[in-house]
Symmetry: C2
Subunit: 121 residues, 2 copies
């Protein structure tokens, strides 16, 4: 487990990278669920997403989301706690995340977006 988790600064977040992240069904499902539960439980753990894919595949997608600046990860014990970088995204691309999330919510069934069950934080 690497000690250092690379995050871009707010200014380094790029539009194409964000769009690319949100065009993948698994990553969209991750962001969708992060957004859906962010008020209730705050941060989520990798294990909360095992319903979406296998561990190593999720690690791959988490790294993409983190490196593109969509989410922030901090290590607590053996766990990784993740949350959306809402304010940074809103600052760089006003209205974008909300528009995507609203459309995803409307199309949730068609997109087969799973709503996951989360453990206590």
């Amino acid at each position: 487990m690497s000690r250092i988790l690379l995050h871009p600064t707010r200014e380094q977040i790029e539009l194409p990278g964000v769009m690319d992240c949100l065009s993948d069904p698994i990553r969209l499902a991750i962001v969708y669920n992060l957004a859906k539960r962010e008020k209730e439980v705050g941060e989520l753990r990798c294990g909360d997403f095992y319903g979406l894919s296998g561990k190593s595949n999720l690690a791959y997608h988490f790294a993409k989301l983190r490196e593109a600046g969509l989410m922030e990860t901090r290590a607590v014990g053996t766990a990784r706690l993740m949350k959306l970088r809402r304010e940074d995204l809103e600052s760089r691309f006003p209205g974008l995340l909300d528009a995507v999330l609203a459309s995803a919510e409307r199309d949730a069934e068609r997109l087969q977006l799973p709503v996951l069950e989360f453990t206590e934080a």
Copy 2:
């Protein structure tokens, strides 16, 4: 030149396909320029975009944009006239296109988005 140009209906336009289109620099530049000039000249032609890439590569990207539902193409003589499907996109994904275009405009320099010169329509 095939006679039939396939367009999805409004309802068939899918969020991941749209996001994927907008995550490619060339396609973003096409949409950006279509939006920038849509009020002035209405429709644009393939040749207007030769500054972005070669003919055959553009044809590839135009097909992607058309098949994902971002733009509409009609044949007039040997030309293809293209325009953004603004209303359809707004109906399916409210606020999304405007948010993307506003962010693209703000980041135009960083994204190296070229502003093309257009011929008369």
